[in-house]
Protein backbone atom coordinates (compact mmCIF):
# COMPACT_ATOMS: atom_id res chain seq x y z
CA UNK A 1 0.00 0.00 0.00
CA UNK A 2 1.14 3.48 -0.97
CA UNK A 3 0.57 6.80 0.74
CA UNK A 4 -0.09 9.60 -1.75
CA UNK A 5 0.85 13.00 -0.36
CA UNK A 6 -0.51 16.13 -2.04
CA UNK A 7 1.09 19.10 -0.30
CA UNK A 8 2.59 22.32 -1.68
CA UNK A 9 4.87 23.16 1.26
CA UNK A 10 8.23 21.49 0.59
CA UNK A 11 9.09 21.03 4.27
CA UNK A 12 5.75 19.56 5.26
CA UNK A 13 5.67 17.29 2.19
CA UNK A 14 9.14 15.91 2.87
CA UNK A 15 8.49 15.48 6.59
CA UNK A 16 5.24 13.65 5.86
CA UNK A 17 6.96 11.29 3.47
CA UNK A 18 9.81 10.67 5.95
CA UNK A 19 7.30 9.79 8.64
CA UNK A 20 5.36 7.50 6.32
CA UNK A 21 8.57 5.75 5.25
CA UNK A 22 9.62 5.38 8.88
CA UNK A 23 6.58 3.16 9.41
CA UNK A 24 7.38 1.20 6.28
CA UNK A 25 5.05 2.80 3.75
CA UNK A 26 5.77 3.48 0.10
CA UNK A 27 5.27 7.13 -0.68
CA UNK A 28 4.26 9.15 -3.75
CA UNK A 29 4.40 12.94 -3.50
CA UNK A 30 2.65 15.63 -5.54
CA UNK A 31 3.17 19.40 -5.11
CA UNK A 32 -0.33 20.24 -6.29
CA UNK A 33 -3.73 18.91 -7.23
CA UNK A 34 -2.95 19.00 -10.96
CA UNK A 35 0.14 16.79 -10.54
CA UNK A 36 -1.97 14.29 -8.60
CA UNK A 37 -4.65 14.32 -11.32
CA UNK A 38 -2.17 13.62 -14.10
CA UNK A 39 0.25 11.26 -12.36
CA UNK A 40 -1.38 9.32 -9.53
CA UNK A 41 -2.22 5.61 -9.79
CA UNK A 42 -4.34 4.99 -6.75
CA UNK A 43 -5.16 1.49 -5.49
CA UNK A 44 -8.15 0.76 -3.23
CA UNK A 45 -5.95 0.00 -0.21
CA UNK A 46 -3.80 3.15 -0.64
CA UNK A 47 -4.14 6.24 1.45
CA UNK A 48 -4.33 9.85 0.21
CA UNK A 49 -3.08 12.70 2.40
CA UNK A 50 -4.11 16.04 0.94
CA UNK A 51 -3.78 19.66 2.01
CA UNK A 52 -6.87 21.72 1.13
CA UNK A 53 -5.00 24.99 0.77
CA UNK A 54 -3.15 24.30 -2.47
CA UNK A 55 -2.13 26.80 -5.15
CA UNK A 56 -4.23 26.44 -8.29
CA UNK A 57 -6.89 23.80 -7.97
CA UNK A 58 -7.91 23.40 -4.31
CA UNK A 59 -7.29 20.15 -2.45
CA UNK A 60 -11.02 19.50 -2.35
CA UNK A 61 -10.70 18.60 -6.04
CA UNK A 62 -8.40 15.74 -5.05
CA UNK A 63 -10.98 14.59 -2.51
CA UNK A 64 -13.73 14.79 -5.12
CA UNK A 65 -11.69 12.90 -7.70
CA UNK A 66 -10.71 10.15 -5.28
CA UNK A 67 -14.24 9.76 -3.92
CA UNK A 68 -15.51 9.14 -7.46
CA UNK A 69 -13.29 6.06 -7.84
CA UNK A 70 -15.16 2.73 -7.87
CA UNK A 71 -13.32 1.62 -4.74
CA UNK A 72 -12.16 4.83 -3.12
CA UNK A 73 -9.12 4.61 -0.84
CA UNK A 74 -8.93 6.27 2.55
CA UNK A 75 -8.53 10.06 2.35
CA UNK A 76 -7.18 12.28 5.11
CA UNK A 77 -7.41 16.02 4.68
CA UNK A 78 -4.79 18.13 6.42
CA UNK A 79 -5.09 21.88 6.76
CA UNK A 80 -3.70 24.91 8.53
CA UNK A 81 -6.77 26.99 7.62
CA UNK A 82 -9.07 28.52 10.24
CA UNK A 83 -11.76 26.10 11.37
CA UNK A 84 -14.60 28.06 9.76
CA UNK A 85 -12.85 27.92 6.40
CA UNK A 86 -12.20 24.19 6.73
CA UNK A 87 -15.90 23.69 7.41
CA UNK A 88 -16.78 25.85 4.47
CA UNK A 89 -14.37 24.10 2.11
CA UNK A 90 -15.44 20.64 3.24
CA UNK A 91 -19.19 21.33 3.36
CA UNK A 92 -20.01 18.88 0.57
CA UNK A 93 -17.98 15.99 1.99
CA UNK A 94 -19.54 14.31 4.98
CA UNK A 95 -17.22 11.40 5.63
CA UNK A 96 -13.72 12.69 5.31
CA UNK A 97 -11.25 12.80 8.15
CA UNK A 98 -9.75 16.26 8.70
CA UNK A 99 -6.55 16.88 10.69
CA UNK A 100 -5.33 20.31 11.54
CA UNK A 101 -1.70 21.34 11.36
CA UNK A 102 0.51 20.96 13.31
CA UNK A 103 -0.19 17.24 13.09
CA UNK A 104 0.02 15.21 16.25
CA UNK A 105 0.89 11.57 16.74
CA UNK A 106 -2.70 10.69 15.78
CA UNK A 107 -1.53 10.62 12.20
CA UNK A 108 1.09 8.03 13.10
CA UNK A 109 -1.64 5.94 14.70
CA UNK A 110 -3.61 6.06 11.45
CA UNK A 111 -0.60 5.08 9.39
CA UNK A 112 0.50 2.19 11.54
Amino acid sequence: MTVHIVEDDDGVRDALSELCRSVGRTVQVYPDSEAFASGAKVEPDDMVLVDIGLPGEPGTEVVRRVSKLPMPPKVIVISGLPLADIHHAMREFSNVLVMRKPLTSELLALLA
Binding site: V12, L19, P82, V98, M99
Partner: protein, 398 residues
Protein backbone atom coordinates in the same frame (compact mmCIF):
# COMPACT_ATOMS: atom_id res chain seq x y z
CA UNK B 1 -32.95 103.65 5.25
CA UNK B 2 -36.52 104.11 6.34
CA UNK B 3 -36.41 107.80 5.50
CA UNK B 4 -39.42 109.98 4.88
CA UNK B 5 -37.98 111.05 1.61
CA UNK B 6 -38.07 108.85 -1.47
CA UNK B 7 -34.81 106.92 -1.82
CA UNK B 8 -32.45 107.97 -4.60
CA UNK B 9 -31.73 105.62 -7.46
CA UNK B 10 -28.36 104.50 -6.05
CA UNK B 11 -29.90 103.99 -2.64
CA UNK B 12 -32.58 101.83 -4.17
CA UNK B 13 -29.96 99.81 -6.03
CA UNK B 14 -27.92 99.34 -2.88
CA UNK B 15 -31.04 98.27 -1.05
CA UNK B 16 -31.84 95.59 -3.63
CA UNK B 17 -28.24 94.35 -3.66
CA UNK B 18 -28.27 93.99 0.09
CA UNK B 19 -31.57 92.19 0.14
CA UNK B 20 -30.76 89.71 -2.61
CA UNK B 21 -27.10 89.03 -1.76
CA UNK B 22 -26.65 85.37 -0.75
CA UNK B 23 -23.92 86.37 1.70
CA UNK B 24 -24.49 88.16 4.95
CA UNK B 25 -23.52 91.84 4.76
CA UNK B 26 -23.00 94.06 7.78
CA UNK B 27 -21.94 97.68 7.79
CA UNK B 28 -20.67 99.20 11.02
CA UNK B 29 -19.26 102.56 12.01
CA UNK B 30 -16.01 103.34 13.77
CA UNK B 31 -17.65 102.73 17.12
CA UNK B 32 -18.56 99.15 16.01
CA UNK B 33 -22.25 100.03 15.90
CA UNK B 34 -24.26 98.12 13.33
CA UNK B 35 -25.65 100.34 10.55
CA UNK B 36 -26.73 97.76 7.99
CA UNK B 37 -27.83 94.15 8.56
CA UNK B 38 -29.12 92.49 5.40
CA UNK B 39 -31.66 89.71 4.80
CA UNK B 40 -29.03 86.98 4.57
CA UNK B 41 -27.70 88.08 7.97
CA UNK B 42 -31.18 87.79 9.43
CA UNK B 43 -31.38 84.14 8.52
CA UNK B 44 -27.75 83.49 9.50
CA UNK B 45 -27.99 85.00 12.96
CA UNK B 46 -31.73 84.73 13.67
CA UNK B 47 -32.07 88.45 14.49
CA UNK B 48 -34.32 90.94 12.67
CA UNK B 49 -32.43 93.93 11.33
CA UNK B 50 -34.46 96.15 13.62
CA UNK B 51 -33.21 94.23 16.69
CA UNK B 52 -29.53 94.78 15.98
CA UNK B 53 -29.20 98.08 14.12
CA UNK B 54 -27.50 100.53 16.44
CA UNK B 55 -26.15 97.69 18.64
CA UNK B 56 -22.45 96.96 19.05
CA UNK B 57 -21.39 94.28 16.56
CA UNK B 58 -20.20 92.20 19.56
CA UNK B 59 -23.76 90.94 19.89
CA UNK B 60 -22.99 88.66 16.91
CA UNK B 61 -19.88 87.14 18.50
CA UNK B 62 -19.34 84.54 21.19
CA UNK B 63 -18.87 86.06 24.65
CA UNK B 64 -15.19 85.14 24.66
CA UNK B 65 -14.44 87.47 21.74
CA UNK B 66 -16.30 90.52 23.04
CA UNK B 67 -13.42 92.28 24.73
CA UNK B 68 -11.01 91.26 22.05
CA UNK B 69 -13.10 92.84 19.34
CA UNK B 70 -13.09 96.21 21.09
CA UNK B 71 -9.30 95.91 21.33
CA UNK B 72 -8.99 95.00 17.66
CA UNK B 73 -10.99 98.06 16.59
CA UNK B 74 -9.05 100.33 18.95
CA UNK B 75 -5.73 98.99 17.74
CA UNK B 76 -6.64 99.47 14.11
CA UNK B 77 -7.77 103.03 14.76
CA UNK B 78 -4.52 103.77 16.58
CA UNK B 79 -2.02 102.01 14.35
CA UNK B 80 -3.74 101.48 11.02
CA UNK B 81 -2.31 97.95 11.08
CA UNK B 82 -4.57 95.60 9.22
CA UNK B 83 -5.28 92.24 10.79
CA UNK B 84 -8.48 91.33 8.99
CA UNK B 85 -9.37 94.19 6.67
CA UNK B 86 -8.85 93.19 3.06
CA UNK B 87 -7.71 89.73 4.18
CA UNK B 88 -10.65 87.79 5.50
CA UNK B 89 -10.50 84.90 7.91
CA UNK B 90 -12.46 82.18 9.58
CA UNK B 91 -14.13 83.33 12.80
CA UNK B 92 -17.02 82.28 15.02
CA UNK B 93 -20.45 83.86 15.01
CA UNK B 94 -23.15 83.70 17.66
CA UNK B 95 -26.82 83.32 16.76
CA UNK B 96 -29.69 84.90 18.66
CA UNK B 97 -30.37 81.54 20.33
CA UNK B 98 -26.80 81.51 21.63
CA UNK B 99 -25.48 78.80 19.32
CA UNK B 100 -22.03 79.30 17.84
CA UNK B 101 -21.21 78.65 14.19
CA UNK B 102 -18.11 78.98 12.00
CA UNK B 103 -18.12 81.71 9.38
CA UNK B 104 -15.83 83.20 6.82
CA UNK B 105 -15.54 86.94 7.34
CA UNK B 106 -14.11 89.47 4.87
CA UNK B 107 -13.91 93.07 5.96
CA UNK B 108 -13.62 96.14 3.77
CA UNK B 109 -13.31 99.76 4.73
CA UNK B 110 -14.95 102.87 3.29
CA UNK B 111 -14.50 106.58 3.96
CA UNK B 112 -17.93 108.23 4.02
CA UNK B 113 -19.13 111.73 4.78
CA UNK B 114 -20.23 110.24 8.13
CA UNK B 115 -16.74 108.96 8.93
CA UNK B 116 -15.03 105.64 8.47
CA UNK B 117 -17.27 102.62 7.99
CA UNK B 118 -16.50 98.92 7.86
CA UNK B 119 -18.28 96.44 5.63
CA UNK B 120 -18.27 92.80 6.63
CA UNK B 121 -19.24 90.03 4.22
CA UNK B 122 -20.14 86.78 5.93
CA UNK B 123 -20.37 83.26 4.59
CA UNK B 124 -21.69 80.42 6.73
CA UNK B 125 -19.15 77.57 7.04
CA UNK B 126 -21.27 75.14 9.11
CA UNK B 127 -22.10 73.03 6.07
CA UNK B 128 -18.51 72.86 4.89
CA UNK B 129 -17.34 72.03 8.39
CA UNK B 130 -19.92 69.30 8.65
CA UNK B 131 -18.70 67.78 5.37
CA UNK B 132 -15.10 67.95 6.53
CA UNK B 133 -16.01 66.39 9.85
CA UNK B 134 -17.88 63.54 8.13
CA UNK B 135 -14.99 62.96 5.77
CA UNK B 136 -12.56 62.83 8.67
CA UNK B 137 -14.77 60.41 10.59
CA UNK B 138 -15.20 58.12 7.58
CA UNK B 139 -11.45 58.10 7.13
CA UNK B 140 -10.91 57.38 10.81
CA UNK B 141 -13.41 54.50 10.61
CA UNK B 142 -11.64 53.13 7.60
CA UNK B 143 -8.27 53.28 9.27
CA UNK B 144 -9.64 51.61 12.39
CA UNK B 145 -11.40 48.86 10.45
CA UNK B 146 -8.42 48.11 8.25
CA UNK B 147 -6.07 48.19 11.22
CA UNK B 148 -8.15 45.75 13.27
CA UNK B 149 -8.68 43.48 10.33
CA UNK B 150 -5.03 43.78 9.28
CA UNK B 151 -4.03 42.78 12.80
CA UNK B 152 -6.33 39.76 12.64
CA UNK B 153 -5.00 38.82 9.26
CA UNK B 154 -1.41 39.34 10.38
CA UNK B 155 -2.10 37.02 13.26
CA UNK B 156 -3.60 34.34 11.08
CA UNK B 157 -0.99 34.73 8.32
CA UNK B 158 1.80 34.56 10.90
CA UNK B 159 0.22 31.56 12.57
CA UNK B 160 -0.11 29.85 9.19
CA UNK B 161 3.43 30.66 8.07
CA UNK B 162 4.90 29.39 11.32
CA UNK B 163 2.58 26.43 11.38
CA UNK B 164 4.04 24.96 8.20
CA UNK B 165 7.66 24.59 9.33
CA UNK B 166 6.48 23.60 12.79
CA UNK B 167 4.32 20.86 11.29
CA UNK B 168 7.38 19.66 9.38
CA UNK B 169 9.53 19.74 12.55
CA UNK B 170 7.04 17.69 14.53
CA UNK B 171 6.73 15.12 11.74
CA UNK B 172 10.52 14.87 11.44
CA UNK B 173 10.79 14.34 15.18
CA UNK B 174 8.22 11.57 15.04
CA UNK B 175 10.10 9.98 12.15
CA UNK B 176 13.36 10.34 14.06
CA UNK B 177 11.81 8.71 17.10
CA UNK B 178 10.77 5.78 14.96
CA UNK B 179 14.30 5.62 13.55
CA UNK B 180 15.92 5.60 16.99
CA UNK B 181 13.48 2.95 18.08
CA UNK B 182 14.35 0.84 15.04
CA UNK B 183 18.09 1.10 15.74
CA UNK B 184 17.52 0.11 19.35
CA UNK B 185 15.53 -2.93 18.30
CA UNK B 186 17.73 -4.13 15.42
CA UNK B 187 21.03 -3.60 17.21
CA UNK B 188 19.55 -4.44 20.60
CA UNK B 189 21.36 -1.42 21.91
CA UNK B 190 19.71 1.16 24.19
CA UNK B 191 20.10 4.84 23.38
CA UNK B 192 18.66 6.48 26.52
CA UNK B 193 20.30 9.88 25.83
CA UNK B 194 18.89 10.06 22.30
CA UNK B 195 15.40 9.14 23.49
CA UNK B 196 15.55 11.66 26.29
CA UNK B 197 16.66 14.51 24.00
CA UNK B 198 14.04 13.58 21.41
CA UNK B 199 11.39 13.68 24.07
CA UNK B 200 12.50 17.16 25.13
CA UNK B 201 12.58 18.43 21.54
CA UNK B 202 9.11 17.03 20.91
CA UNK B 203 7.72 18.70 24.03
CA UNK B 204 9.12 22.09 22.98
CA UNK B 205 7.74 21.73 19.47
CA UNK B 206 4.36 20.90 20.99
CA UNK B 207 4.62 24.00 23.17
CA UNK B 208 5.21 26.13 20.07
CA UNK B 209 2.25 24.39 18.46
CA UNK B 210 -0.06 25.25 21.33
CA UNK B 211 1.02 28.91 21.19
CA UNK B 212 0.13 29.01 17.51
CA UNK B 213 -3.18 27.37 18.27
CA UNK B 214 -3.95 29.98 20.89
CA UNK B 215 -3.21 32.79 18.43
CA UNK B 216 -5.35 31.06 15.86
CA UNK B 217 -8.24 30.58 18.25
CA UNK B 218 -8.05 34.24 19.23
CA UNK B 219 -8.35 35.24 15.60
CA UNK B 220 -10.96 32.63 14.78
CA UNK B 221 -13.17 33.71 17.64
CA UNK B 222 -13.44 37.08 15.99
CA UNK B 223 -13.73 35.63 12.53
CA UNK B 224 -16.50 37.68 10.93
CA UNK B 225 -19.40 35.99 9.23
CA UNK B 226 -19.52 35.40 5.54
CA UNK B 227 -22.49 36.78 3.72
CA UNK B 228 -23.77 36.53 0.22
CA UNK B 229 -22.78 39.77 -1.48
CA UNK B 230 -22.68 41.40 -4.87
CA UNK B 231 -19.03 41.90 -5.74
CA UNK B 232 -19.79 44.98 -7.87
CA UNK B 233 -21.30 46.85 -4.96
CA UNK B 234 -18.52 45.77 -2.62
CA UNK B 235 -15.86 46.90 -5.09
CA UNK B 236 -17.55 50.24 -5.82
CA UNK B 237 -17.71 51.05 -2.14
CA UNK B 238 -14.06 50.18 -1.65
CA UNK B 239 -13.02 52.28 -4.65
CA UNK B 240 -14.90 55.23 -3.23
CA UNK B 241 -12.83 54.83 -0.08
CA UNK B 242 -9.61 54.37 -2.04
CA UNK B 243 -10.13 57.60 -3.94
CA UNK B 244 -11.37 59.47 -0.88
CA UNK B 245 -9.49 62.72 -0.28
CA UNK B 246 -7.16 61.93 -3.17
CA UNK B 247 -6.62 64.68 -5.70
CA UNK B 248 -7.81 63.69 -9.11
CA UNK B 249 -4.26 62.87 -10.07
CA UNK B 250 -5.13 59.37 -11.24
CA UNK B 251 -7.72 58.36 -13.78
CA UNK B 252 -9.84 55.52 -12.43
CA UNK B 253 -11.63 53.38 -14.99
CA UNK B 254 -14.25 50.92 -13.83
CA UNK B 255 -15.69 48.13 -15.94
CA UNK B 256 -18.23 45.83 -14.36
CA UNK B 257 -20.25 42.97 -15.73
CA UNK B 258 -23.88 43.41 -14.76
CA UNK B 259 -25.63 40.62 -12.85
CA UNK B 260 -22.61 38.93 -11.32
CA UNK B 261 -23.32 35.75 -9.37
CA UNK B 262 -23.20 36.33 -5.61
CA UNK B 263 -20.08 35.58 -3.58
CA UNK B 264 -19.95 34.33 -0.02
CA UNK B 265 -17.53 36.80 1.52
CA UNK B 266 -16.48 38.87 4.46
CA UNK B 267 -17.06 42.21 2.73
CA UNK B 268 -14.63 44.17 4.92
CA UNK B 269 -11.83 41.75 4.11
CA UNK B 270 -12.52 41.76 0.38
CA UNK B 271 -12.70 45.54 0.42
CA UNK B 272 -9.34 45.51 2.10
CA UNK B 273 -7.95 43.60 -0.87
CA UNK B 274 -9.49 46.10 -3.29
CA UNK B 275 -8.11 49.03 -1.29
CA UNK B 276 -4.72 47.44 -1.13
CA UNK B 277 -4.51 46.62 -4.82
CA UNK B 278 -5.87 50.01 -5.83
CA UNK B 279 -3.41 51.90 -3.65
CA UNK B 280 -0.53 49.84 -4.99
CA UNK B 281 -1.76 50.47 -8.55
CA UNK B 282 -2.01 54.22 -7.99
CA UNK B 283 1.49 54.24 -6.55
CA UNK B 284 2.85 52.18 -9.44
CA UNK B 285 1.59 54.47 -12.18
CA UNK B 286 1.94 57.85 -10.48
CA UNK B 287 4.92 58.88 -12.59
CA UNK B 288 3.21 58.12 -15.90
CA UNK B 289 2.02 60.96 -18.12
CA UNK B 290 -1.58 59.79 -17.84
CA UNK B 291 -1.72 57.58 -14.73
CA UNK B 292 -4.65 55.20 -15.17
CA UNK B 293 -5.99 52.45 -12.93
CA UNK B 294 -8.51 50.05 -14.41
CA UNK B 295 -10.75 47.98 -12.16
CA UNK B 296 -12.82 45.27 -13.82
CA UNK B 297 -15.28 42.69 -12.51
CA UNK B 298 -16.59 39.72 -14.46
CA UNK B 299 -17.68 36.12 -14.10
CA UNK B 300 -16.06 33.01 -15.58
CA UNK B 301 -18.46 30.16 -15.06
CA UNK B 302 -18.82 29.77 -11.30
CA UNK B 303 -15.81 31.96 -10.55
CA UNK B 304 -16.28 35.67 -9.93
CA UNK B 305 -13.23 37.74 -10.86
CA UNK B 306 -11.93 41.17 -10.07
CA UNK B 307 -8.84 42.72 -11.61
CA UNK B 308 -6.91 45.87 -10.79
CA UNK B 309 -4.54 46.99 -13.55
CA UNK B 310 -2.27 50.01 -13.78
CA UNK B 311 -0.34 51.54 -16.67
CA UNK B 312 2.94 51.76 -14.73
CA UNK B 313 6.24 50.09 -15.58
CA UNK B 314 5.24 46.61 -14.37
CA UNK B 315 6.91 44.52 -11.67
CA UNK B 316 10.60 43.65 -12.15
CA UNK B 317 11.43 39.93 -12.22
CA UNK B 318 13.55 40.06 -9.06
CA UNK B 319 10.63 41.46 -7.07
CA UNK B 320 8.26 38.79 -8.34
CA UNK B 321 9.98 36.00 -6.41
CA UNK B 322 9.18 37.43 -3.00
CA UNK B 323 6.14 39.50 -3.95
CA UNK B 324 3.70 37.59 -1.75
CA UNK B 325 6.13 36.43 0.91
CA UNK B 326 6.35 39.34 3.31
CA UNK B 327 7.65 37.07 6.04
CA UNK B 328 10.26 35.36 3.92
CA UNK B 329 11.71 38.27 1.96
CA UNK B 330 14.61 40.31 3.35
CA UNK B 331 12.97 43.68 2.83
CA UNK B 332 9.40 43.50 4.08
CA UNK B 333 7.95 46.52 2.33
CA UNK B 334 4.45 47.74 3.10
CA UNK B 335 3.32 46.49 -0.28
CA UNK B 336 4.65 43.02 0.45
CA UNK B 337 2.74 42.70 3.68
CA UNK B 338 -0.38 44.11 2.04
CA UNK B 339 -0.11 41.55 -0.75
CA UNK B 340 0.64 38.70 1.65
CA UNK B 341 -2.48 39.58 3.61
CA UNK B 342 -4.52 40.05 0.44
CA UNK B 343 -3.51 36.64 -0.84
CA UNK B 344 -4.25 35.07 2.54
CA UNK B 345 -7.71 36.64 2.52
CA UNK B 346 -8.36 35.40 -1.02
CA UNK B 347 -7.21 31.89 -0.10
CA UNK B 348 -9.27 31.91 3.09
CA UNK B 349 -12.24 32.58 0.82
CA UNK B 350 -11.29 29.51 -1.21
CA UNK B 351 -10.17 31.85 -3.94
CA UNK B 352 -6.85 33.07 -5.23
CA UNK B 353 -4.90 36.20 -5.99
CA UNK B 354 -2.91 36.08 -9.23
CA UNK B 355 -0.50 38.56 -10.72
CA UNK B 356 0.51 39.41 -14.25
CA UNK B 357 3.73 41.40 -13.76
CA UNK B 358 3.51 43.20 -17.09
CA UNK B 359 6.66 45.06 -18.19
CA UNK B 360 7.71 46.15 -21.71
CA UNK B 361 5.27 49.01 -21.70
CA UNK B 362 2.55 47.03 -19.97
CA UNK B 363 1.49 47.72 -16.39
CA UNK B 364 0.94 45.12 -13.68
CA UNK B 365 -2.44 43.45 -13.27
CA UNK B 366 -3.66 41.69 -10.13
CA UNK B 367 -6.64 39.37 -10.35
CA UNK B 368 -8.74 38.04 -7.49
CA UNK B 369 -10.80 34.94 -8.25
CA UNK B 370 -13.57 33.95 -5.86
CA UNK B 371 -15.95 31.01 -6.07
CA UNK B 372 -19.55 32.02 -6.67
CA UNK B 373 -21.84 31.30 -3.71
CA UNK B 374 -23.29 27.81 -4.12
CA UNK B 375 -26.15 27.45 -1.74
CA UNK B 376 -27.81 28.54 1.42
CA UNK B 377 -26.22 28.96 4.82
CA UNK B 378 -28.58 26.42 6.37
CA UNK B 379 -27.13 23.55 4.38
CA UNK B 380 -23.75 24.82 5.40
CA UNK B 381 -24.50 24.48 9.08
CA UNK B 382 -25.84 20.93 8.80
CA UNK B 383 -22.63 19.65 7.30
CA UNK B 384 -20.57 21.21 10.08
CA UNK B 385 -22.39 19.10 12.61
CA UNK B 386 -22.09 16.01 10.41
CA UNK B 387 -18.37 16.30 9.75
CA UNK B 388 -16.16 14.04 11.80
CA UNK B 389 -13.01 15.79 12.86
CA UNK B 390 -10.22 13.91 14.49
CA UNK B 391 -7.67 16.50 15.41
CA UNK B 392 -10.32 19.19 15.60
CA UNK B 393 -10.81 18.13 19.20
CA UNK B 394 -8.51 21.02 20.01
CA UNK B 395 -11.25 23.38 18.89
CA UNK B 396 -13.55 22.06 21.61
CA UNK B 397 -11.02 22.83 24.26
CA UNK B 398 -11.31 26.54 23.57
Amino acid sequence: MQGIRRPTLSEARLESVLETAPDGIIVMDEGARILVFNKACESLFGYNAAEVIGENVRILMPQAHHDNHDLYVQRYRATGERRIIGIGREVEGRRKDGSIFPLDLSVGEAQTPNGRQFIGVIRDLSARHETERRLASVQADLIRVTRVSALDEMGSVLAHELNQPLTAIMLYLQALEREVHRIQVTHSRLEPRASELLGKATREAQRAGSIIQRVRQLVEKRAPERKNANLNAVVDEALELAMLGRQRSVYLRRFGQMQLPGVLIDTVQIQQIVLNLTRNAIEACQREADPTVTVTTWAEGDIVCLSVADNGPGIPAERMRTLFNAFRSEAGTGMGIGLTISRAIAQNHMGELLVDPGGDGKGACFTVRLPAAVDTAAENRDSIAAMPMAAAAEADKS
